[in-house]
Symmetry: C2
Subunit: 220 residues, 2 copies
């Protein structure tokens, strides 16, 4: 089964790190943007880092048509609007992977901003037709570390979602990247835990003056 | 600074694992119970496992007088009542370490039972005088693994609490056990994350048919 990976909002730091890692692993990657120019510019920059012409830049609609799995890599407060703008273009069976985490900084600490739906993943899922499967995954891995291709990841990717088949597709994607191990975290509501874990990792980074805190499960 | 460790509710599986690990590391340990007989019976059983007479069994009040740090190792729904019963006996400056996690099982999955206060640690803290410091820690480490002295722990202990000094004391305690690394998780409200992480680990154990899922932070 082919695995072409697209990015809705791939021009930011989250999209950059993931796109680089997947492309580096030989996976076909397309960066999407509302603007073809911005998509092309981002793809060109990423390709310079890779030293090859492997990443394409496309407008969102075209990116979606050319992807089996689309990452939602926007700031959490822009994700809903971006999703609404492409909703009509999302084909049935598409797997959307939400990596967003709603947080704010107060007195030097990151704080989780709990959405009324329980998690941002659940909030976004409500905006979609039931034919599109949303998965929450890759939330806990710092974009900074993803983007440093020389750094061994050596960590776990927690995958949650209400469709077991969609979870499996996201886990397949994670397996394509060296150093990542996917773990099935169950229903989408597990995003309540995963999103908070990201906030904890951000605070650990601040306290210990590091940038790459990420999770590994021992015993599995 | 001495570190004598006591257990309020030390006759259950959580208390057993922690008591064995600390005693094995040479730390003075006292098991507390409302009943001297039950405390003595548990201590005798643990000492048989250890092959030495290092753990004492005491009634709760006496255990508290002989401890610098007291673990609250009761089922989450008994912790409040147990705390209320000894509240008058808790000296100022005592560090209480809450390891409880409120969860229930529904259709084969563990679910977090969110307390109105946000976490069980915060709920328990409200029952205490401000002179007693409550720390949430050791929540994410499976009792099963703690109790298997032959298993290398090789994981992190997340410590949260509103008193930095109390967090430091709990971190000192964690450092006494080989294979445990304490990490400062910040204010007590971080227990909202840690308690959910325990539920996630329980569900990972069930899904992957293991018993010892526990967390290690990479990059710190």
């Amino acid at each position: 089964m082919s695995m072409r990976i697209g990015f809705l909002g791939g021009t930011g730091i989250e999209g950059r790190g993931l796109a680089l890692r997947f492309a580096h692993a030989g996976v076909p990657v397309a960066i999407g943007s509302r603007s073809a120019d911005r998509a092309l510019a981002a793809a060109a920059e990423y390709n310079r880092v890779l030293g090859s012409e492997t990443i394409r830049g496309l407008v969102n609609q075209e990116m979606i048509r050319n992807s089996d799995l689309v990452f939602l890599t926007l700031p959490h407060d822009q994700a809903s609007a971006a999703l609404d703008a492409v909703r009509a273009d999302l084909p049935a069976g598409l797997v959307l992977v939400d990596v967003t985490v709603p947080m704010r900084f107060t007195e030097g600490r990151a704080e989780y901003v709990e959405p009324p739906e329980g998690s941002n993943a659940e909030a976004l899922a409500r905006r979609l037709s039931p034919a599109v499967d949303l998965v929450g995954a890759f939330k806990t891995i710092p974009a900074h570390v993803m983007g440093e291709l020389g750094t061994a990841l050596d960590c776990d990717v927690f995958v949650c979602g209400d469709s077991p088949a969609a979870r499996e597709r996201a886990m397949e994607a994670a397996r394509l990247v060296p150093g990542l191990r996917p773990l099935d975290a169950g229903p989408l509501a597990a995003a309540r835990t995963l999103e908070r874990m990201t906030v904890l990792a951000v605070n650990l980074n601040r306290r210990y003056k590091r940038k790459g805190a990420r999770y590994r499960i021992q015993g599995i």
